[in-house]
């Protein structure tokens, strides 16, 4: 990028010792959650400013406020000392903010070059798209990243890591003074990560600012100049990184809040019901072994993309197991589909309950009975009367509003939808239940009810594999916890013997607790 274009978006005019961007006391609420409260941060030209916090602490929301995706309710954003107001991501882009999102924004059916220039194709004198210029520009950007990708390659055919790199290439090709990178290395290997680090150094040498969001503290300490830490939507620290040790950062992320009260009951029995022995899958599960006892809650703790969901998928018959084996009650089982897992008494509460769990074309009862329609048979036919009775029984048992008897579950709150799915597995008499983020996005009251259901289930001898990004919840509700990173289990321990601080340390790659100290 030439100096002239950089100048147009204001990099050269800003002295290095004055903030390029300033966030002043912004607040943002979503239904049921205060995502950000009175958060401020200063971003200087030529610096890498790391934004840290646990899952759900508000990092992505803050990034999206700066990028114009969300509009904060309170506070202001200043660019070179002047307040700016973004109503749309295009406004922020015009002011020089480029963003690399966690979820890809590429169009899979277009080529790399088409994606990079999407919506801003250069024209030739005849007013047509200047394809040679598009290809040339693309090649230049890819070279900056030392990427050997053909600009005419269709994005769909690229690997996930390559797509992530194209996403980065697209962002740096924009005329920008601030680059927001939300988990840019989540899909990258070691080599690609190092290349990205080099690129970031080149960009900061051009006096561009970078907001760097990552779970990986090792990376952050390698690249960042300044760190801002969020906890439950509030800023708990904002310091130059030279003043901080890794232990300080972890402690700030965990916070010293009074622990929420979790109604945990222990119902672990001696018999083992599930044994996982050295399983591997093609999507990253790498030699995972553990066992779960009857009535136990076994927690899988890890960052997003750590492989915890993939472990669950392998057990549930969604991904093919290429090595190792699974024993259910001492007998080896191979599930080729969820159907076989369900038949063997394994159930799953999926992470995305709306997309993967609910049937909006049905009211409550039919959403509950799906996994054991057999129970409703009267002769060769389903008894709709029985279905309604069961529906009523389970809605009441789970404390779900009776309106769900007649109306589509679409009109229930997120918490009640989740309880409908839990009722489904209760009804199906699953013996092992995998719960992937069972309390994500539901309010405190519904969370408590989910915890009570977990207790009720384990008391009746059902075992639970719990996946949660809410680490305090995971530690409090699990009997034992396994730390997952890069598709491997690093450590398994009684949950009361592990602190949130240690869990984050290990899951984020900051090292074991001893190393941090």
């Amino acid at each position: 990028m030439s100096d002239m274009t950089a100048d147009r978006v204001g990099v050269l005019e800003t002295p290095l010792n004055e903030p390029l961007w300033q966030v002043r006391g912004i607040s943002k609420a979503f239904p049921g959650v205060q995502a950000l409260e009175d958060v401020s941060m200063d971003i200087y030209p030529g610096e890498v400013h790391a934004l840290l916090g646990e899952n759900g602490s508000g990092k992505s929301t803050l990034a999206k406020c700066i990028a114009g995706v969300h509009q904060p309710e309170k506070g202001e954003i200043l660019f070179r000392g002047r307040p700016v107001r973004f109503h749309h991501p295009m406004d922020a882009r015009a002011a020089g903010v480029a963003t690399i999102y966690q979820e890809f924004s590429l169009v899979p059916s277009l080529t790399v070059a088409e994606n990079i220039y999407l919506g801003r194709y250069p024209r030739n004198s005849a007013g047509m798209i200047d394809w040679p210029a598009v290809r040339k520009g693309t090649r230049q950007v890819l070279e900056q990243l030392s990427l050997a990708i053909d600009p005419d390659e269709i994005v769909r055919t690229l690997s996930v890591a390559e797509q992530q790199l194209v996403e980065i290439a697209k962002a740096i090709s924009l005329e920008s003074n601030l680059l927001i990178m939300d988990e840019p290395t989540a899909a990258l290997g070691l080599l690609e990560t190092q290349r990205l680090m080099e690129l970031i150094r080149r960009l900061t040498a051009q006096n561009k600012a970078i907001i760097y969001i990552s779970h990986r503290l090792d990376e952050v300490f390698q690249i960042a100049d300044r760190v801002t830490i969020l906890k439950d939507g509030r800023r708990v620290a904002s310091e130059p990184i030279s003043k901080l040790k890794m232990g300080d950062v972890v402690r700030a992320m965990v916070g010293f809040d009074i622990q929420q009260h979790y109604p945990k009951e222990r119902h672990v029995r001696d018999e083992v019901c599930l044994e996982v022995q050295g399983i591997r899958t093609e999507n990253g599960v790498n030699d995972v072994s553990f066992s779960v006892r009857v009535g136990e809650v076994f927690g899988l703790g890890g960052m997003l993309g750590s492989g915890r969901t993939e472990i669950a998928r392998a057990i549930y018959g969604l991904d093919k197991i290429v090595a190792g084996k699974i024993l259910l009650n001492g007998r080896q089982v191979v599930f080729n589909s969820p159907r076989e897992a369900v038949a063997a008494g394994v159930g799953m509460v999926p992470e995305n309950r709306k997309a993967d769990g609910c049937f909006f074309n049905f009211e409550g009862p039919k959403n509950i009975t799906i996994s054991r329609l057999k129970e409703l048979l009267q002769g060769p036919f389903l008894s709709l009367l029985k279905e309604r009775e069961f529906g009523e029984l389970y809605l009441k048992r789970m404390n779900i509003p009776a309106t769900a008897l007649e109306r589509s579950v679409q009109y229930l709150s997120g918490g009640n939808q989740q309880k409908v799915i839990l009722a489904r597995w209760l009804f199906s008499q699953a013996r092992i239940l995998i719960m992937d983020e069972p309390t994500q996005g539901i309010d405190i009251g519904a969370k408590l009810e989910v915890y009570h259901v977990i207790n009720e289930l384990t008391a009746s001898g059902i075992s639970i594999i719990l996946i949660s990004s809410d680490f305090p919840e995971l530690l409090a509700m699990s009997d034992r916890v396994a730390v997952v990173r890069d598709g491997k289990i690093l450590h398994i321990t009684q949950s009361e013997q592990m602190t949130e601080y240690q869990l984050i340390g290990m899951a984020s790659g900051a090292g074991t607790s001893d190393e941090i100290e």
């Binding site: 549930y316 589909s337 969820p338 159907r339 897992a341 369900v342 038949a343 799953m348 999926p350 997309a355 993967d356 769990g357 609910c358 049937f359 909006f360 074309n361 049905f362 039919k366 799906i370 996994s371 329609l373 057999k374 409703l376 048979l377 060769p380 036919f381 389903l382 709709l384 007649e406 109306r407 589509s408 679409q410 009109y411 489904r424």
Partner: protein, 325 residues
């Protein structure tokens, strides 16, 4: 809630069903027609209406089940013609008995359904594209097989299927009504058929809940093809010859009937009885316009408008429901 309130709510609930509103409209149209035409309520006219819609209604039973599971089949018209030709050639060229010929024809139809099902479920080809391809392919296959000529002079042992009468009513009407009643019963009360509603409602969730998604989808494509085959046998037997162009455009008429009857192209909604009422409505409407001496072209115009009105009513209902929240 008071008793009268309860009754009012029940009435409102029943009225919300498409079957009910469609039934009322049918009754009103029939009443008007009985008043303005002395032919309408004749046995001969009613039989003509039912016979006329027997092909569409028979296929609609399978089509609505397929639509409920989130599928779509544009090849039913071609399958219908193909079955007729296979059956006709078996009778005249191979000189096979009627029963064997019919079974051969239905087997051919099942084969087409199986291919459709495999293309959509295993190869994940969009149903619209896969079955559009089959529509053209099978029509072509039919022409090749019959060397471009209709198969004429089918034996009486076969034509009786389409022309014979029981208690003075032609067989196809019995076949259609039986299929509608059995199909409706199965969709409401059978464990296997219920699975289609789950798949159409949320395919991913259905799979995660242990439903054999691919199996049910393949079954449904086979079912609609089989019913198209039965319709093909009925119409071939009625005409006494295997026409090569019969069934052209029938797929869109069938889909129209199912949508008027409350089905949705996005799956999860609809009923066999509703689809039958939709077909009946289109049949009655055509007959009424005919009796009123209206030009045949009005039929398309009115049917099209009814289809759009039906869908708009659905959308408005949906909005009202979500506002109630």
């Amino acid at each position: 809630m008071t008793i009268s309130g309860k009754i009012a709510r029940t009435v409102r609930d029943v009225a919300a069903y498409r079957e009910f509103s469609l039934f009322i409209v049918l009754v009103v149209v029939s009443l008007i027609m009985t008043m303005v035409s002395d032919v309408f309520m004749n046995k001969a006219n009613i039989e003509a209406i039912l016979l006329g819609l027997s092909v569409e209604a028979t296929i609609a039973v399978g089509m609505v089940i397929l639509l409920i599971s989130g599928g779509l089949d544009l090849s039913v018209g071609s399958t219908l013609a193909f079955t007729g030709v296979v059956c006709g050639l078996a009778l005249t060229v191979l000189k096979l008995p009627a029963v064997i010929s019919i079974l051969l024809g239905l087997l051919a139809a099942l084969g087409i359904g199986l291919i459709n099902g495999l293309l959509v479920s295993k190869l994940k080809i969009n149903p619209f594209i896969a079955t559009l391809g089959m529509q053209i392919t099978v029509r072509g296959l039919t022409l090749v097989l019959a060397s471009g000529k209709a198969v004429l002079n089918l034996p009486a042992s076969f034509t009786v299927v389409g022309q014979g009468r029981l208690f003075g009513v032609q067989y196809p009407i019995y076949i259609m009504l039986t299929l509608v009643i059995v199909g409706d019963l199965l969709m409401r009360n059978s464990r296997f058929f219920r699975q289609s509603y789950y798949i159409g409602g949320n395919e991913k969730a259905a799979g995660l809940s242990g439903i054999p998604v691919d199996l049910v989808k393949i079954f449904n494509y086979c079912l609609v093809a089989l019913l198209a085959g039965i319709a093909g046998i009925m119409i071939t037997a009625r005409f006494g010859s295997s026409s090569l162009t019969v069934g052209t455009g029938v797929e869109l008429r069938v889909i129209t009937a199912t949508i008027i009857g409350g089905a949705s192209l996005s799956g999860g909604e609809g009923s066999v009885f509703g689809a039958f009422l939709g077909a009946l409505f289109m049949g009655v409407l055509a007959n009424a316009l005919n009796l009123l001496g209206m030009d045949i072209y009005w039929q398309n115009l009115v049917t099209g408008l009814i289809l759009i009105i039906a869908v708009v009513v659905d959308v408005l209902n949906e909005r009202r429901k979500s506002r109630q929240k």
